[in-house]
Structure formats: structure tokens, C-alpha cells
Symmetry: C2
Subunit: 351 residues, 2 copies
């Protein structure tokens, strides 16, 4: 976070000319109105926000809707492949997609720390808007709070999202059946490594970019193609391993994964070795697993591979009636080990 060198000018600048966040930007008065009018309304411009009401009133295409929320506290705010703004849009859009919903509307709640440069807020708002366009959603309602210096960390953002569930099928761990195939939408571990490298100013041979991306299009394509998707889960905190363990526990099936089928970029693998991390547990922001009936697995892979974000999709395992609740990994050399949930904290403030 960038802060001015002193607590502020002895003689206040004309209103609206503070180059950093002051407490009054969250106070409900003139400065807050200026922040909204000069930063958020131009960035997110749409008819709903322009009404400046307490909330947005929108018309949905269906009464069956998905609703989700995430707060984002990632440090640093900007990293190779994204920033907290794009992350806050794609993360929430992806949670809607994992419910089988087409994302439609997002809210945006910002908690700013006194002293943060307003330019940073502007850059992040612009990034959110670009991400929203790419993901096909509108940011229709928002809120800004300001906390004193030392009571926050630059900027936290919460987004909540509404999506419309068009498909009639029910998606969730309870739909998983033994004999299903586990698909993975691409290589793993990039987001976590990108953040850690940016945070520690580490220089690896190749810069690893976050995989941060919107996933609703390939998911909608799977459903439109008639694939009876049983379960979807995006791989965020805790990585592929934690997602697999959670699904196995909730579904009451065993999951057998094949390590050599799980794509990991060479640069990610090398960085993880240096950092002492296991890519299986490293966070991702543009990857998901889809669990589908075995007879539709090949069709599902073809659908996914037609989309840029999921072009490297692969089958990485299957579900079993035996060993219910457990995840087993067949290693590259043929050995087997149990995959467990992470007990500690591999990497804080990753998203």
C-alpha cells in the first residue's frame, strides 16, 4: 500500500482533491459522494448504478437463481496475470458457474484504508469493469467503507453475485455416483505461485502468471451440450487436493486420481520445489473439476477443449464405491498414497 509521507496536508486541499483515501470518503457526506461520482460511477457505468438508490432492481430470466459471495484480501493487490479487482469478479462469477448458473449481476463492497492512493482505487475499479465485461456480468450495486490507517490493509473487496440457473439438472456432491469420471479444466498451481513470487519479490527463471479467468462460458457449454454434470468445484484455497477431499466426503464415494495426468507447468513445479509447496494444495483461480458420467466424459472433454480457458482439460481420475470418503493418488511411478485435507495454512491471503 502506498501512503502519503505525512498524516495529510496541514491546510486541507480543496474538496475532492485529496490524492489518497481519507476517513470522510466513507462518511456519507460530500467526499463520499465525490468518490462515487468520480471513481465508481464512471468505471462501472450502467443504468442501475446511475439511479443511486439503496439497491438495484433487476429483472431475471428465471426464478431459479444462484447466490454467492466472497471477500478478497489478496496481497499484493496487483500480481502477474491479475489484481484484486479481476480476482473479485472472476472468483464470484466462477462460484455461480459451479452452481450451474449463468452469472448476471454482481455487487461490490469496498473497505478502504485511510491513506490508500485514490489512483489505486481507480485502477482496481477499472480492472473490475474490464473483468465484468469479459465475464458478461454487470456491477449494479455497491458500498464503500473507510477504516483508519493501521486498521485495514489498503483495500479489501467483497463481491456477491446472482446467476440464473437455466438447466434443470441438480449439481452438487450429492449427485456424484461411483464410476463417474473426474475432469480437470487445466494445469494447476499458477495462482498461488504467482502471488507468492510477487509478494516475496522472488525471481524465478520464468514469470508465472495467475490462471485467474472466468469459467461460466465452458460450464454453460457443457450444460448446453446435454452433459449430465454431477458436480462442479473451482479450485481455490486448498487447491485440487482440498476440493477432491471435500467432494469425496460430501458425496460418500472414493476418488482415485492419477498424478501423471494432472498438468503442472514446469515453471510452477520448479517454483514449488524451491518454496517447499505441493502444487496439489496450491490455490488456483481459473481451474475447476467437473465430475461427469463415464459415458459422457469424452464428449465433455471435447466441449471444454473448444474454450480458451479450458483448452487443456483432461480426465484425471474416477469415483469408486470402495474407500468412500477417501482420495487416493496413484503416483507417476505406480505407488498409491492417501490425499488428506491441509491441516495448517499453506499460504495466507491468496485470494
Amino acid at each position: 500500500m502506498s501512503t502519503p509521507s505525512s498524516a495529510g496536508p496541514a491546510c486541507p486541499l480543496p474538496l475532492g482533491e485529496y490524492p489518497w483515501v481519507v476517513l470522510a470518503h466513507g462518511g456519507g457526506g460530500r467526499l463520499m459522494a465525490q468518490l462515487i461520482e468520480r471513481v465508481f460511477l464512471p468505471a462501472f457505468a450502467n443504468a442501475q448504478l446511475d439511479r443511486r438508490h439503496d439497491g438495484a432492481v433487476v429483472r431475471l430470466a428465471s426464478t431459479r437463481v444462484a447466490f454467492t459471495t466472497d471477500s478478497y484480501v489478496v496481497q499484493p493487490l496487483f500480481f502477474p496475470g491479475g489484481d484484486i479487482g479481476s480476482l473479485a469478479v472472476y472468483g464470484t462469477v466462477n462460484d455461480l458457474a459451479m452452481c450451474g448458473a449463468r452469472p448476471q449481476y454482481l455487487s461490490c463492497g469496498m473497505i478502504l484504508e485511510e491513506g490508500l492512493e485514490l489512483q489505486v482505487v481507480e485502477r482496481i475499479a477499472a480492472s473490475m469493469q474490464r473483468a465484468a465485461r469479459r465475464a458478461g456480468v454487470q456491477l449494479v450495486t455497491g458500498d464503500t467503507k473507510v477504516v483508519e490507517r493501521g486498521k485495514g490493509d489498503g483495500l479489501f473487496v467483497n463481491t456477491a453475485g446472482i446467476g440464473v440457473v437455466e438447466s434443470q439438472i441438480d449439481i452438487g456432491p450429492d449427485q456424484v455416483r461411483p464410476g463417474d469420471v473426474v475432469l480437470l479444466s487445466g494445469d494447476i498451481g499458477r495462482h498461488g505461485v504467482a502471488i507468492l513470487a510477487a509478494r516475496e519479490s522472488l525471481e524465478f527463471e520464468a514469470t508465472v502468471c495467475s490462471d485467474c479467468a472466468p469459467l461460466a462460458e465452458p460450464v454453460m457449454a457443457l450444460l448446453a451440450a446435454g452433459v449430465e454434470v454431477h458436480c462442479l468445484r473451482d479450485l481455490t484455497r486448498g487447491g485440487l487436493a482440498s476440493a477432491a477431499v471435500e467432494i469425496a466426503a460430501r458425496a460418500g464415494v472414493g476418488i482415485e486420481l492419477c498424478e501423471r495426468e494432472i498438468p503442472v507447468l514446469e515453471a510452477v513445479r520448479a517454483s514449488c520445489e524451491i518454496l517447499g509447496l505441493d502444487p496439489l494444495y496450491v490455490a488456483n483461480e481459473g481451474r475447476f473439476v467437473a465430475i461427469v458420467p463415464q459415458v459422457q466424459a469424452e464428449q465433455a472433454l471435447q466441449v471444454l477443449r473448444a474454450h480458451a480457458e479450458t483448452a487443456q482439460a483432461v480426465a484425471i481420475g474416477r469415483t469408486t464405491a470402495a474407500a468412500a470418503g477417501q482420495v487416493a493418488m496413484e503416483s507417476a511411478v505406480g505407488g498409491h498414497r492417501l490425499v488428506d485435507r491441509l491441516s495448517g495454512e499453506q499460504l495466507p491471503r491468496i485470494c
Copy 2:
């Protein structure tokens, strides 16, 4: 915020037995799962949350929905008449009500600071659930993040809300017409004074309790009674004055208010005098203004007075074609003054 006396025990306690928040509670692993299973699921218990999916899938009664969000950063977390949890429920429910919507579902995103006692999280979650029951909404989806000690302030919470718009009338500043009557739902200034007294450990002659309360029922009753409500606005940051100024500016009408009609508790008036605050600008969390056609003003007051939260509703002024965009106050002794937006910060972290 309560913190343990050291950075933590040298030898970690058995998992799940930390009495305070540690970074791993936000890490996507075992401790986060335990926090969810032991604190949030029991507190918010409902079928949606129990599915533990990335989001909730709900069925709405209509395709016309209101959507809103607010983050809450109030200090202290507990104050006379409420706490950050009840505030986070009622604040968002009230924003939906101000859109003319019946609140239905809330999300809950928490940002916890490392070192916060888990007991505090439990108390706040329980308070949110009580408030949700009272307001007739369900907390169906959530998220928890943890930031390092010194990078937050105990607990911040964001709620987003979805409500169903049952009425066909359009509510907003652009619907206001000259000659309308401005109704106020009760006495003003209590929330701000309660927070400031709690924060500064001030002892006034009488304890002032926050007015924090859900407002959807009286609003739904107004609409059900056929009152053609033109505009609704709850009085939060910036108080009655800021709400009136904003409505006048957006509606392109003048607003004339009559000071002697605006109820202020004697204890609030006395506290404001000591603190150098103007009750007109002090935050409220259970008060709103309704702007209604003059011919329905008496009927609207009768409807409001039948509800506990709005039993003291009064008419405080009217809208005019003249002096468009301005708010004028007729003082108790008959003088007139212009009411302006607050330029600075009267009281930070009030909600």
C-alpha cells in the same frame, strides 16, 4: 478486540481448540472447515448452507428482484441496542425494503483478524441469526477470510441481500413530485449517539440505545395498503440531512422541513449538545423517510403507526417545485435555513 497475550502457544493445541482466530482459519483446510462446521453452520442452520456448495440455489417468487450490499466496520463490535451482526442483517434488509422489496436471502462475508477470540465470532453469528429470524430472511451463503494481526480490526462483515419486488410501482427519487409529503418513521440520532458513547465510554444521564431495527414489515404494509410510495430512503451515514439533500438533488424538487416536527429524544439532544453534533446529521439504523402523495399522507401515517418500529411516524415536511435541489429547514422559532450535505466526517466507523 481481545487478543491472546502472546503470538500463540509454543506447542500448538489440538486442532480446533484454538480459542482465537489463526491464519489457517481462512486457509481452505481443516481449520477453516472446523470453523464453518462448529460456528457458522450451527448458527445459521438451513438446508442451503448444509449443502456446502460454492453458492446457494434458491427459488424466488418473482423475476423482479432487488439486490444490494453493505460492508460493516462499526467500532465497537457490541453497543447498546445491537452489535455488528444485527446491524449487518438489518442494514441490508432495510436497503432492500427501501427498493420496495420483500427481503428473502442474505449472504455473509466475514474478514477476521488473527487473534480475535472465536467466542466473539460465535456471539456475532448468533446475533446475525436472531436478526435474520426477526427480519424473515435466511443467511444462505457465506465466506470467511483471515488477515494478519494489525491488518484488520477484529471483524468486518459484508452482507448482500436479495428481495422480491411484489409491487408494480416504481420507487425512487425520480418518482417524487412537487406537493408530496415527507414522512419520517421515528425519532432520529440514536444509533450515532449510542456508538459514540460506547466508543468513548461516555456516561450520559440516560443510556441511549441504537434504533437498529428491520423496516421491511412497515414498508410492505404501506405498499399492501395501496399507498403510492414515491421514494423511500433509510437514514444511515449522514443522517436525515444527507438523505434529504440527496433526494432533493436527484428528484429535482425542493424539500421544506419543519424542525419542530422532527422527533429527537431528550437524551439524544443533550448528548449531541455535549458532543457538538447536530442530530440532523447523526446516523440512524432503523429510521427512514417515505415521500408520498399528499392525499395519501394521513393513510400512510396510520399504516406506519400500527407497526412497533414505526409507531412514532410523523409528517416532517413537503416537496416544492420552487428551490429545486435545495433543502430548507424552518426552525422551531420560525426562521429558515438551508440544509447542506456534510462536507467532512462527523463520526467514522458508525456502521
